[in-house]
Protein backbone atom coordinates (compact mmCIF):
# COMPACT_ATOMS: atom_id res chain seq x y z
CA UNK A 1 0.00 0.00 0.00
CA UNK A 2 1.32 3.45 -0.86
CA UNK A 3 1.66 6.01 1.89
CA UNK A 4 0.45 9.58 1.68
CA UNK A 5 2.27 12.40 3.42
CA UNK A 6 -0.30 14.97 4.40
CA UNK A 7 0.02 18.41 5.90
CA UNK A 8 -3.39 19.30 7.24
CA UNK A 9 -4.52 22.58 8.74
CA UNK A 10 -5.75 21.90 12.26
CA UNK A 11 -7.67 24.28 14.44
CA UNK A 12 -9.08 27.71 13.79
CA UNK A 13 -7.48 30.92 12.59
CA UNK A 14 -4.50 30.49 14.84
CA UNK A 15 -4.18 26.80 14.18
CA UNK A 16 -1.25 25.12 12.52
CA UNK A 17 -0.34 22.55 9.95
CA UNK A 18 0.06 19.06 11.30
CA UNK A 19 1.77 16.31 9.36
CA UNK A 20 0.34 12.83 9.00
CA UNK A 21 1.25 9.67 7.20
CA UNK A 22 -1.62 7.52 5.98
CA UNK A 23 -1.63 4.39 3.92
CA UNK A 24 -4.11 4.36 1.08
CA UNK A 25 -5.47 1.99 -1.56
CA UNK A 26 -5.57 2.16 -5.27
CA UNK A 27 -8.31 4.35 -6.67
CA UNK A 28 -8.75 6.43 -3.53
CA UNK A 29 -9.50 10.12 -3.63
CA UNK A 30 -8.17 12.72 -1.20
CA UNK A 31 -11.39 12.63 0.79
CA UNK A 32 -11.00 8.88 1.35
CA UNK A 33 -7.59 9.50 2.80
CA UNK A 34 -8.99 12.19 5.06
CA UNK A 35 -11.67 9.76 6.21
CA UNK A 36 -9.10 7.11 6.88
CA UNK A 37 -7.17 9.64 8.92
CA UNK A 38 -10.34 10.35 10.87
CA UNK A 39 -11.11 6.72 11.50
CA UNK A 40 -7.60 5.69 12.51
CA UNK A 41 -5.60 8.62 13.85
CA UNK A 42 -7.57 11.71 14.65
CA UNK A 43 -11.31 11.15 15.04
CA UNK A 44 -12.13 14.79 15.59
CA UNK A 45 -10.69 16.01 12.28
CA UNK A 46 -13.39 18.28 10.91
CA UNK A 47 -14.27 17.95 7.25
CA UNK A 48 -17.50 18.55 5.34
CA UNK A 49 -18.76 16.08 2.81
CA UNK A 50 -21.95 14.43 1.65
CA UNK A 51 -22.11 12.71 -1.68
CA UNK A 52 -18.51 11.71 -2.33
CA UNK A 53 -19.29 11.90 -6.04
CA UNK A 54 -18.81 15.55 -6.91
CA UNK A 55 -22.50 16.31 -6.81
CA UNK A 56 -23.20 18.18 -3.61
CA UNK A 57 -20.33 20.63 -3.40
CA UNK A 58 -19.68 20.15 0.31
CA UNK A 59 -16.09 18.99 0.41
CA UNK A 60 -14.32 22.04 -1.00
CA UNK A 61 -10.83 22.68 0.34
CA UNK A 62 -7.46 23.87 -0.89
CA UNK A 63 -5.18 21.10 -1.98
CA UNK A 64 -1.62 22.22 -2.61
CA UNK A 65 -2.95 25.74 -2.74
CA UNK A 66 -5.63 25.09 -5.31
CA UNK A 67 -9.31 25.11 -4.40
CA UNK A 68 -10.75 21.70 -5.24
CA UNK A 69 -13.40 19.14 -4.32
CA UNK A 70 -11.64 16.63 -2.12
CA UNK A 71 -13.86 13.85 -3.38
CA UNK A 72 -12.87 14.36 -7.00
CA UNK A 73 -9.11 14.40 -6.59
CA UNK A 74 -7.65 10.98 -7.09
CA UNK A 75 -4.47 10.26 -5.17
CA UNK A 76 -2.79 9.25 -8.42
CA UNK A 77 -2.73 12.94 -9.35
CA UNK A 78 -0.09 13.56 -6.71
CA UNK A 79 3.34 11.99 -7.07
CA UNK A 80 3.91 9.42 -4.38
CA UNK A 81 6.17 10.59 -1.62
CA UNK A 82 5.42 14.26 -2.09
CA UNK A 83 3.68 16.06 0.72
CA UNK A 84 0.11 17.09 0.01
CA UNK A 85 -1.02 20.24 1.76
CA UNK A 86 -4.66 20.39 2.77
CA UNK A 87 -6.11 23.69 3.93
CA UNK A 88 -9.57 25.13 4.37
CA UNK A 89 -10.99 27.64 1.87
CA UNK A 90 -9.05 30.78 2.68
CA UNK A 91 -11.61 33.37 1.72
CA UNK A 92 -14.01 32.37 4.47
CA UNK A 93 -13.64 32.32 8.26
CA UNK A 94 -12.42 29.00 9.57
CA UNK A 95 -14.75 27.08 11.86
CA UNK A 96 -12.31 24.30 12.48
CA UNK A 97 -9.75 22.30 10.50
CA UNK A 98 -11.02 21.99 6.94
CA UNK A 99 -14.43 23.47 7.62
CA UNK A 100 -15.18 27.12 6.95
CA UNK A 101 -18.12 29.35 7.60
CA UNK A 102 -19.69 29.95 4.21
CA UNK A 103 -22.66 31.95 5.51
CA UNK A 104 -21.67 34.94 3.36
CA UNK A 105 -22.70 32.94 0.32
CA UNK A 106 -26.13 32.31 1.75
CA UNK A 107 -26.45 36.05 2.36
CA UNK A 108 -25.80 36.64 -1.31
CA UNK A 109 -28.42 34.05 -2.20
CA UNK A 110 -31.00 35.97 -0.23
CA UNK A 111 -30.28 39.11 -2.23
CA UNK A 112 -30.98 37.49 -5.58
CA UNK A 113 -33.99 38.76 -7.53
CA UNK A 114 -36.91 36.38 -7.58
CA UNK A 115 -37.93 34.72 -10.79
CA UNK A 116 -41.32 35.93 -12.06
CA UNK A 117 -42.57 33.87 -14.94
CA UNK A 118 -45.23 34.76 -17.41
CA UNK A 119 -48.46 32.84 -16.87
CA UNK A 120 -48.70 29.35 -18.34
CA UNK A 121 -50.43 28.54 -21.60
CA UNK A 122 -54.11 27.68 -21.47
CA UNK A 123 -53.38 23.95 -21.21
CA UNK A 124 -51.15 24.45 -18.19
CA UNK A 125 -47.88 23.98 -20.03
CA UNK A 126 -45.11 26.50 -20.23
CA UNK A 127 -43.70 26.06 -23.67
CA UNK A 128 -39.98 26.64 -23.92
CA UNK A 129 -37.76 25.33 -26.68
CA UNK A 130 -34.64 23.42 -25.79
CA UNK A 131 -32.55 26.14 -27.45
CA UNK A 132 -34.16 28.68 -25.15
CA UNK A 133 -33.12 26.91 -21.99
CA UNK A 134 -29.79 25.33 -22.75
CA UNK A 135 -27.88 28.36 -21.48
CA UNK A 136 -29.83 28.22 -18.24
CA UNK A 137 -29.23 24.50 -17.92
CA UNK A 138 -25.50 25.08 -17.95
CA UNK A 139 -25.89 27.51 -15.07
CA UNK A 140 -28.11 25.12 -13.15
CA UNK A 141 -25.28 22.58 -13.07
CA UNK A 142 -23.82 24.62 -10.23
CA UNK A 143 -23.37 22.52 -7.09
CA UNK A 144 -22.68 25.51 -4.85
CA UNK A 145 -19.26 24.34 -3.84
CA UNK A 146 -18.22 28.00 -3.55
CA UNK A 147 -14.83 27.17 -4.94
CA UNK A 148 -15.22 29.98 -7.44
CA UNK A 149 -16.14 32.36 -4.64
CA UNK A 150 -13.05 31.24 -2.76
CA UNK A 151 -10.64 31.76 -5.63
CA UNK A 152 -12.00 35.12 -6.75
CA UNK A 153 -9.33 37.70 -5.98
CA UNK A 154 -11.92 40.44 -5.55
CA UNK A 155 -12.76 39.08 -2.13
CA UNK A 156 -9.98 36.58 -1.51
CA UNK A 157 -7.39 39.34 -1.45
CA UNK A 158 -9.71 42.20 -0.52
CA UNK A 159 -12.26 41.01 2.00
CA UNK A 160 -13.55 44.55 2.36
CA UNK A 161 -15.22 44.08 -1.04
CA UNK A 162 -17.48 41.37 0.31
CA UNK A 163 -20.11 43.96 1.13
CA UNK A 164 -20.88 44.87 -2.47
CA UNK A 165 -20.02 41.80 -4.45
CA UNK A 166 -22.20 38.77 -5.10
CA UNK A 167 -19.37 36.68 -6.53
CA UNK A 168 -19.12 34.38 -9.54
CA UNK A 169 -21.51 31.75 -8.22
CA UNK A 170 -24.22 34.34 -7.96
CA UNK A 171 -23.37 35.94 -11.26
CA UNK A 172 -24.17 32.50 -12.61
CA UNK A 173 -27.50 32.62 -10.83
CA UNK A 174 -28.19 36.14 -12.05
CA UNK A 175 -27.42 35.06 -15.58
CA UNK A 176 -29.80 32.17 -15.28
CA UNK A 177 -32.56 34.51 -14.16
CA UNK A 178 -31.65 37.11 -16.75
CA UNK A 179 -31.75 34.60 -19.60
CA UNK A 180 -34.84 32.66 -18.53
CA UNK A 181 -37.10 32.71 -21.58
CA UNK A 182 -40.26 33.40 -19.59
CA UNK A 183 -39.00 35.70 -16.86
CA UNK A 184 -40.55 39.13 -16.60
CA UNK A 185 -38.01 40.92 -14.43
CA UNK A 186 -36.65 44.01 -16.09
CA UNK A 187 -33.26 43.80 -17.72
CA UNK A 188 -31.89 46.18 -15.17
CA UNK A 189 -32.95 44.06 -12.22
CA UNK A 190 -30.34 41.45 -13.08
CA UNK A 191 -27.48 43.81 -13.89
CA UNK A 192 -27.94 46.07 -10.92
CA UNK A 193 -24.86 47.86 -9.64
CA UNK A 194 -25.39 46.39 -6.22
CA UNK A 195 -24.29 42.93 -7.32
CA UNK A 196 -20.79 44.22 -7.98
CA UNK A 197 -20.35 42.99 -11.50
CA UNK A 198 -17.94 45.88 -12.03
CA UNK A 199 -15.51 44.44 -9.52
CA UNK A 200 -14.89 41.46 -11.72
CA UNK A 201 -11.95 42.02 -14.03
CA UNK A 202 -12.68 38.84 -15.97
CA UNK A 203 -9.40 37.22 -15.03
CA UNK A 204 -11.22 33.89 -15.17
CA UNK A 205 -9.98 32.09 -12.07
CA UNK A 206 -13.55 31.13 -11.27
CA UNK A 207 -13.89 29.40 -14.63
CA UNK A 208 -10.55 27.69 -14.19
CA UNK A 209 -11.57 26.02 -10.95
CA UNK A 210 -15.28 25.28 -11.43
CA UNK A 211 -15.62 21.53 -10.94
CA UNK A 212 -18.80 21.52 -12.99
CA UNK A 213 -17.00 23.08 -15.94
CA UNK A 214 -19.43 25.99 -16.09
CA UNK A 215 -18.03 28.71 -18.34
CA UNK A 216 -18.67 31.23 -15.62
CA UNK A 217 -16.84 34.13 -17.21
CA UNK A 218 -17.64 33.58 -20.88
CA UNK A 219 -21.26 32.54 -20.53
CA UNK A 220 -22.45 34.30 -17.41
CA UNK A 221 -20.30 37.25 -16.39
CA UNK A 222 -19.36 38.68 -19.77
CA UNK A 223 -22.91 38.37 -21.13
CA UNK A 224 -24.16 40.18 -18.03
CA UNK A 225 -21.55 42.87 -18.54
CA UNK A 226 -22.64 43.08 -22.15
CA UNK A 227 -26.25 43.44 -21.08
CA UNK A 228 -25.12 46.34 -18.99
CA UNK A 229 -23.40 47.80 -22.00
CA UNK A 230 -26.69 47.39 -23.87
CA UNK A 231 -28.42 49.33 -21.16
CA UNK A 232 -25.92 52.09 -20.61
CA UNK A 233 -23.04 52.28 -23.05
CA UNK A 234 -23.98 51.20 -26.55
CA UNK A 235 -23.72 54.17 -28.95
CA UNK A 236 -26.20 52.77 -31.45
CA UNK A 237 -28.75 52.08 -28.76
CA UNK A 238 -28.23 55.49 -27.22
CA UNK A 239 -28.93 57.09 -30.58
CA UNK A 240 -31.88 54.79 -31.20
CA UNK A 241 -33.33 55.70 -27.84
CA UNK A 242 -32.86 59.39 -28.51
CA UNK A 243 -34.59 59.04 -31.86
CA UNK A 244 -37.52 57.01 -30.62
CA UNK A 245 -37.69 58.89 -27.36
CA UNK A 246 -37.87 55.67 -25.39
CA UNK A 247 -35.93 54.34 -22.45
Amino acid sequence: MPTAHLRVWRGTDDGEYVEYEVEYDEGMVVLDVVHRLQATQTPDLAVRWNCKAGKCGSCSAEINGKPRLQCMQRMELYPEGETITLAPLKTFPIIRDLVTNVAWNYDQARAMPELRLRPADADGNRRMAQIDIDRGQEFHKCIECYICQDVCHVIRDHPENMAGFAGPRFFVQLASIAMHPLDTNTRRATVDHGFGLDYCNITKCCTDVCPEGIHITDNAIIPLKERRVDEFHDPLRIIARKLTGRG
Binding site: R7, W9, D13, D14, G15, E16, Y17, V18, E19, E62, N64, G65, K66, P67, T85, A87, K90, A129, I131, D132, V151, H153, V154, R156, D157, H158, E160, N161, A178, M179, H180, P181, D183, H193, G196, D198, Y199, C200, N201, I202, T203, K204, C205, D208, V209, D218, I222, P223, E226, R227, R228, V229, D230, F232, H233, D234, P235, L236
Partner: protein, 259 residues
Protein backbone atom coordinates in the same frame (compact mmCIF):
# COMPACT_ATOMS: atom_id res chain seq x y z
CA UNK B 1 5.34 21.84 12.89
CA UNK B 2 3.58 24.91 14.13
CA UNK B 3 3.20 28.06 12.12
CA UNK B 4 1.60 31.33 13.00
CA UNK B 5 -1.74 32.31 11.53
CA UNK B 6 0.09 34.17 8.79
CA UNK B 7 0.59 30.73 7.39
CA UNK B 8 -2.80 31.30 5.83
CA UNK B 9 -1.08 33.61 3.43
CA UNK B 10 -1.96 37.09 4.34
CA UNK B 11 1.16 38.35 2.57
CA UNK B 12 1.85 39.18 -1.03
CA UNK B 13 2.77 36.41 -3.35
CA UNK B 14 2.04 33.87 -0.76
CA UNK B 15 0.51 30.77 -2.12
CA UNK B 16 0.66 27.10 -1.49
CA UNK B 17 0.58 26.29 -5.13
CA UNK B 18 3.44 24.02 -5.96
CA UNK B 19 3.25 24.29 -9.73
CA UNK B 20 4.94 26.93 -11.87
CA UNK B 21 2.10 29.42 -11.65
CA UNK B 22 4.41 32.33 -12.53
CA UNK B 23 5.17 30.94 -15.98
CA UNK B 24 1.98 32.01 -17.68
CA UNK B 25 1.99 35.67 -16.60
CA UNK B 26 5.68 35.81 -17.45
CA UNK B 27 5.20 34.53 -20.99
CA UNK B 28 2.10 36.59 -21.61
CA UNK B 29 3.72 39.71 -20.20
CA UNK B 30 6.84 39.34 -22.33
CA UNK B 31 4.87 38.53 -25.45
CA UNK B 32 2.68 41.59 -25.13
CA UNK B 33 5.67 43.77 -24.36
CA UNK B 34 7.52 42.64 -27.46
CA UNK B 35 4.50 43.37 -29.59
CA UNK B 36 3.88 46.80 -28.14
CA UNK B 37 7.49 47.85 -28.60
CA UNK B 38 7.63 46.49 -32.10
CA UNK B 39 4.38 48.02 -33.26
CA UNK B 40 5.30 51.40 -31.86
CA UNK B 41 8.56 51.35 -33.73
CA UNK B 42 6.95 50.16 -36.91
CA UNK B 43 3.96 52.45 -36.80
CA UNK B 44 5.61 55.65 -35.64
CA UNK B 45 8.65 55.42 -37.84
CA UNK B 46 6.35 54.78 -40.77
CA UNK B 47 7.63 57.54 -42.95
CA UNK B 48 11.24 56.51 -42.53
CA UNK B 49 10.67 52.87 -43.15
CA UNK B 50 8.90 51.85 -46.32
CA UNK B 51 5.62 50.15 -45.59
CA UNK B 52 4.24 49.64 -49.04
CA UNK B 53 5.74 47.91 -52.04
CA UNK B 54 5.68 49.48 -55.47
CA UNK B 55 2.34 49.74 -57.22
CA UNK B 56 0.75 49.18 -53.84
CA UNK B 57 0.87 45.42 -54.16
CA UNK B 58 1.61 44.81 -50.51
CA UNK B 59 0.56 47.32 -47.90
CA UNK B 60 1.41 46.68 -44.27
CA UNK B 61 -1.78 45.94 -42.33
CA UNK B 62 -0.75 48.61 -39.81
CA UNK B 63 -1.36 51.17 -42.51
CA UNK B 64 -4.50 49.73 -44.02
CA UNK B 65 -6.51 51.67 -45.16
CA UNK B 66 -3.88 54.18 -46.22
CA UNK B 67 -4.95 57.71 -45.40
CA UNK B 68 -2.48 60.51 -45.83
CA UNK B 69 -4.10 63.92 -45.78
CA UNK B 70 -2.06 66.75 -47.27
CA UNK B 71 -2.02 68.96 -44.21
CA UNK B 72 -0.14 66.52 -42.02
CA UNK B 73 3.59 66.96 -41.73
CA UNK B 74 5.82 64.43 -43.36
CA UNK B 75 7.07 62.88 -40.17
CA UNK B 76 3.55 62.07 -39.09
CA UNK B 77 3.00 58.38 -39.70
CA UNK B 78 -0.29 57.54 -41.42
CA UNK B 79 -0.42 54.45 -39.18
CA UNK B 80 -1.30 56.69 -36.26
CA UNK B 81 -4.55 57.59 -37.98
CA UNK B 82 -5.43 53.94 -38.23
CA UNK B 83 -3.89 52.16 -35.31
CA UNK B 84 -6.08 53.70 -32.60
CA UNK B 85 -8.88 51.45 -33.75
CA UNK B 86 -7.22 48.03 -33.54
CA UNK B 87 -5.27 49.12 -30.46
CA UNK B 88 -8.44 50.29 -28.77
CA UNK B 89 -10.22 47.12 -29.80
CA UNK B 90 -7.53 44.89 -28.42
CA UNK B 91 -6.92 46.93 -25.30
CA UNK B 92 -10.55 46.72 -24.30
CA UNK B 93 -10.90 43.11 -25.47
CA UNK B 94 -12.04 40.80 -22.70
CA UNK B 95 -9.20 38.40 -23.39
CA UNK B 96 -6.44 40.99 -23.43
CA UNK B 97 -7.89 42.56 -20.33
CA UNK B 98 -7.53 39.25 -18.59
CA UNK B 99 -4.00 38.90 -19.95
CA UNK B 100 -2.66 42.26 -18.90
CA UNK B 101 -4.55 42.45 -15.61
CA UNK B 102 -2.79 39.27 -14.68
CA UNK B 103 0.62 39.95 -16.18
CA UNK B 104 1.07 43.67 -15.50
CA UNK B 105 -1.38 44.61 -12.78
CA UNK B 106 -0.81 41.30 -10.97
CA UNK B 107 -4.48 41.43 -10.19
CA UNK B 108 -4.16 38.55 -9.56
CA UNK B 109 -0.84 37.22 -10.87
CA UNK B 110 -2.35 33.73 -10.98
CA UNK B 111 -5.32 32.02 -9.38
CA UNK B 112 -5.05 31.61 -5.62
CA UNK B 113 -1.88 33.67 -5.56
CA UNK B 114 -2.07 36.78 -3.43
CA UNK B 115 -2.13 40.03 -5.32
CA UNK B 116 0.13 42.88 -4.23
CA UNK B 117 -2.27 45.83 -4.35
CA UNK B 118 -3.63 46.92 -1.00
CA UNK B 119 -7.00 47.80 -2.36
CA UNK B 120 -8.99 46.97 -5.43
CA UNK B 121 -12.00 48.50 -7.03
CA UNK B 122 -12.32 46.68 -10.32
CA UNK B 123 -13.66 48.02 -13.55
CA UNK B 124 -16.21 50.33 -12.06
CA UNK B 125 -13.86 53.28 -11.65
CA UNK B 126 -11.82 55.46 -13.99
CA UNK B 127 -9.89 54.58 -16.10
CA UNK B 128 -11.10 51.01 -16.19
CA UNK B 129 -14.68 52.05 -16.63
CA UNK B 130 -13.62 52.98 -20.18
CA UNK B 131 -13.43 49.30 -20.95
CA UNK B 132 -17.11 49.63 -21.66
CA UNK B 133 -16.09 51.30 -24.90
CA UNK B 134 -15.30 47.85 -26.25
CA UNK B 135 -18.68 47.83 -27.95
CA UNK B 136 -17.75 51.02 -29.83
CA UNK B 137 -14.45 49.59 -30.91
CA UNK B 138 -16.16 46.42 -31.97
CA UNK B 139 -18.37 48.35 -34.39
CA UNK B 140 -15.26 49.95 -35.87
CA UNK B 141 -13.41 46.66 -35.97
CA UNK B 142 -16.17 45.19 -38.07
CA UNK B 143 -15.41 47.84 -40.70
CA UNK B 144 -11.82 46.72 -40.75
CA UNK B 145 -12.59 43.22 -41.85
CA UNK B 146 -13.65 44.10 -45.44
CA UNK B 147 -10.83 46.63 -45.63
CA UNK B 148 -8.21 44.04 -44.74
CA UNK B 149 -9.73 41.49 -47.07
CA UNK B 150 -9.63 44.12 -49.74
CA UNK B 151 -5.91 44.58 -49.13
CA UNK B 152 -5.41 40.83 -49.19
CA UNK B 153 -7.25 40.42 -52.47
CA UNK B 154 -5.38 43.37 -53.96
CA UNK B 155 -2.16 41.57 -53.22
CA UNK B 156 -2.96 38.95 -55.83
CA UNK B 157 -3.09 41.48 -58.63
CA UNK B 158 0.04 43.18 -59.81
CA UNK B 159 -0.56 46.18 -62.05
CA UNK B 160 0.61 45.37 -65.52
CA UNK B 161 1.12 41.70 -64.85
CA UNK B 162 -2.23 40.47 -63.62
CA UNK B 163 -3.02 37.64 -61.28
CA UNK B 164 -0.29 35.98 -59.33
CA UNK B 165 0.68 34.98 -55.85
CA UNK B 166 3.58 35.81 -53.60
CA UNK B 167 4.58 35.06 -50.06
CA UNK B 168 3.30 38.52 -49.20
CA UNK B 169 -0.15 37.69 -50.62
CA UNK B 170 -0.25 34.57 -48.52
CA UNK B 171 0.68 36.47 -45.38
CA UNK B 172 -1.86 39.20 -46.03
CA UNK B 173 -4.56 36.62 -46.62
CA UNK B 174 -3.76 34.62 -43.52
CA UNK B 175 -3.68 37.88 -41.61
CA UNK B 176 -7.14 38.84 -42.83
CA UNK B 177 -8.46 35.36 -42.02
CA UNK B 178 -7.08 35.27 -38.49
CA UNK B 179 -8.28 38.78 -37.81
CA UNK B 180 -11.72 37.72 -38.97
CA UNK B 181 -11.68 34.79 -36.60
CA UNK B 182 -10.52 37.02 -33.80
CA UNK B 183 -13.26 39.53 -34.49
CA UNK B 184 -16.16 37.14 -34.88
CA UNK B 185 -15.05 35.47 -31.67
CA UNK B 186 -15.41 38.80 -29.90
CA UNK B 187 -17.60 38.50 -26.80
CA UNK B 188 -19.23 41.77 -27.60
CA UNK B 189 -20.13 40.71 -31.12
CA UNK B 190 -21.34 37.35 -29.91
CA UNK B 191 -23.59 39.12 -27.50
CA UNK B 192 -24.68 41.66 -30.06
CA UNK B 193 -25.78 39.09 -32.59
CA UNK B 194 -28.15 37.20 -30.25
CA UNK B 195 -26.83 37.07 -26.69
CA UNK B 196 -29.33 39.63 -25.54
CA UNK B 197 -32.28 37.52 -26.64
CA UNK B 198 -34.05 35.28 -24.17
CA UNK B 199 -36.36 33.46 -26.54
CA UNK B 200 -34.48 32.37 -29.61
CA UNK B 201 -37.26 30.17 -30.87
CA UNK B 202 -39.89 32.83 -31.27
CA UNK B 203 -39.30 33.99 -34.84
CA UNK B 204 -37.34 32.70 -37.83
CA UNK B 205 -35.11 35.77 -37.65
CA UNK B 206 -34.31 35.00 -34.05
CA UNK B 207 -33.53 31.42 -34.96
CA UNK B 208 -31.15 32.68 -37.59
CA UNK B 209 -29.49 34.97 -35.09
CA UNK B 210 -29.16 32.02 -32.73
CA UNK B 211 -27.44 30.03 -35.52
CA UNK B 212 -24.97 32.86 -35.96
CA UNK B 213 -24.48 33.01 -32.22
CA UNK B 214 -23.65 29.32 -32.21
CA UNK B 215 -21.09 29.83 -34.96
CA UNK B 216 -19.57 32.84 -33.24
CA UNK B 217 -19.51 30.82 -30.05
CA UNK B 218 -17.23 28.29 -31.67
CA UNK B 219 -14.80 31.08 -32.51
CA UNK B 220 -15.36 32.62 -29.09
CA UNK B 221 -14.36 29.48 -27.23
CA UNK B 222 -10.89 29.90 -28.70
CA UNK B 223 -10.74 33.64 -28.46
CA UNK B 224 -7.35 33.51 -26.80
CA UNK B 225 -5.95 31.44 -29.64
CA UNK B 226 -7.22 33.90 -32.25
CA UNK B 227 -6.04 36.80 -30.17
CA UNK B 228 -2.46 35.53 -30.17
CA UNK B 229 -2.27 34.12 -33.67
CA UNK B 230 -3.79 37.23 -35.20
CA UNK B 231 -1.44 39.37 -33.15
CA UNK B 232 1.63 37.46 -34.23
CA UNK B 233 0.65 37.31 -37.87
CA UNK B 234 -0.06 41.00 -38.08
CA UNK B 235 3.41 41.73 -36.68
CA UNK B 236 5.09 39.24 -38.96
CA UNK B 237 3.23 40.54 -42.02
CA UNK B 238 4.09 44.09 -41.19
CA UNK B 239 7.75 43.22 -40.76
CA UNK B 240 7.74 41.26 -43.99
CA UNK B 241 6.21 44.09 -45.98
CA UNK B 242 8.77 46.52 -44.56
CA UNK B 243 11.57 44.18 -45.51
CA UNK B 244 10.30 43.62 -49.02
CA UNK B 245 9.48 47.28 -49.55
CA UNK B 246 12.89 48.36 -48.42
CA UNK B 247 14.39 45.64 -50.57
CA UNK B 248 16.09 43.81 -47.78
CA UNK B 249 14.47 40.56 -48.84
CA UNK B 250 13.00 39.48 -52.13
CA UNK B 251 9.45 38.24 -52.24
CA UNK B 252 9.16 34.79 -53.80
CA UNK B 253 6.24 35.01 -56.18
CA UNK B 254 4.82 34.04 -59.57
CA UNK B 255 5.24 37.39 -61.22
CA UNK B 256 8.07 37.91 -63.65
CA UNK B 257 10.15 40.72 -62.20
CA UNK B 258 10.94 41.82 -58.69
CA UNK B 259 8.19 43.91 -57.17
Amino acid sequence: MAQASTALERRYGDTQRTDRWWLEPLLVGSGLLIFVVYSTVSGVLGEYWAFETEHGLYLSPFFEPLIHPEFLPDWFSPAILILWAPIGFRTTCYYYRRAYYRAYFLSPPACAVREPAGSYSGEGVFPFVLQNAHRWFMYVALLFIPILWNGAIRSFWLDGEGIGIGLGSVLLTVNAALLTMYTIGCHSLRHWVAGGLNQFSRTPLRRLRRRLWEIFTIANEHHRLWAWTSLIIVGVTDLYVHLVASEVVTDPNTWSGPI
